[in-house]
Chain length 222, copies 2
């Protein structure tokens, strides 16, 4: 395969969102693993529900609402200062260890991000990880005020790169995002680090890897 | 309040979907409570994702895919015959005990169902519960090939009843459905049997009850 550009999902793919709670400079009682998982699940649910309701709120607002709902559901008491610390941690999510080697090996390809994140959140995550020079475009769904997996979002990638979808390799760790990108027409690589099953949404990825650092080899094999 | 019609959600509101696994005539290993919950969660996720992807599959297909994915995730082995038995149980979900008293007390109001269910699934659930005479309309999202909480779905209720949304009381136990109906403009009653928290989607119900049998009193109080 020889795509003319590689577009990455951000949260869960380049950046490890499940480690945000553990890394936040805050001590709260309760099962932090369960909190991380529920926070993420509610965050995604609210993006899907608000998109369908046609009541967009940006990813910062959705993430804040999801955190509060997760804490309430788990009966974990947290002060506004603790909430603030958890949200701030979302501005500097750590990159997965395989992200930088992959991006460097792909430096001769046009690389971009296409993410649910708000422009400010994405700019912060990229800057805190020292990845400013890695991407020709950092694209937020905020431009179309809806979320993945709407085709209106995936169209932002083809527009920004001025390429047809089949000439772009889209990379995501979220299998529903993989399905959405494939339905839109991208070549799609699923980075399945956790050995999960593909969600049965009618679309399969073109490639499956267990780490981003396997992608350069895919490209050169084609 | 004096609405001119009452529109009910079906699954989770009139009919108890979480009891489907326990009532199915099938013996499978594993935690059936967890299976019920995960089956329902995946069923809803797939409706939201397929709606956003603009890749509609009807509720029977989505429910079947969700069951298979839940079984796989929980590593529960099930034969095709057992899968069939579980799916068949979805055709006769038991009504909640408060459903019939509420429908009877409301017999002087126009009553309808507006549901994600396919037409065949809804007809079966209504018939098996002997509720054929209760509803002037049983409306499926299938007509618009998308799912709740899309406003295109809620518009089916106002069209079928030929009434403006604020003159209709919409009743649901699913708080995201409550938010969607309220965003569309209905008067909305949340039947919160499980003392859950409202999902923070920017909309609150007009009324909250802990059982459907409290609704007639609401109407007469207005």
């Amino acid at each position: 395969m020889s795509p003319h550009a590689v577009v990455f999902d951000a949260y869960g793919t380049l950046f490890d969102v499940l480690s945000v709670v553990a890394r936040a400079d805050v001590t709260i009682p309760g099962d932090l693993q369960t909190l991380s998982t529920l926070w993420r699940q509610k965050q995604l649910e609210y993006t899907w529900l608000r998109s369908l309701m046609e009541c967009y709120e940006d990813f910062w607002g959705v993430t804040d609402a999801a955190l509060r709902a997760a804490l309430t559901q788990l009966k974990i008491g947290a002060s506004e200062a603790q909430l603030h610390a958890l949200m701030q941690a979302y501005l500097s999510p750590p990159a997965f260890p395989d992200a930088r080697p992959a991006l460097e090996a792909l430096r001769n390809s046009r690389r971009a991000i296409l993410s649910n994140g708000s422009p400010a959140m994405l700019a912060s995550a990229v800057r805190r990880n020292g990845m400013e020079s890695c991407f020709v475009e950092v694209i937020s769904v905020d431009k179309v005020k809806t979320y993945k997996p709407s085709p209106r979002v995936y169209a932002l990638g083809t527009e920004a790169l001025d390429l047809p979808a089949p000439e772009i390799l889209f990379v995501s760790s979220n299998s529903w995002d993989v399905a959405g990108a494939k339905a839109f027409g991208y070549q799609v690589c699923w980075c399945n680090r956790s050995k999960a099953e593909m969600e049965p949404l009618g679309y399969a990825p073109d490639f499956v890897v267990s780490g981003l650092d396997q992608i350069p080899r895919l490209l050169h094999a084609g």
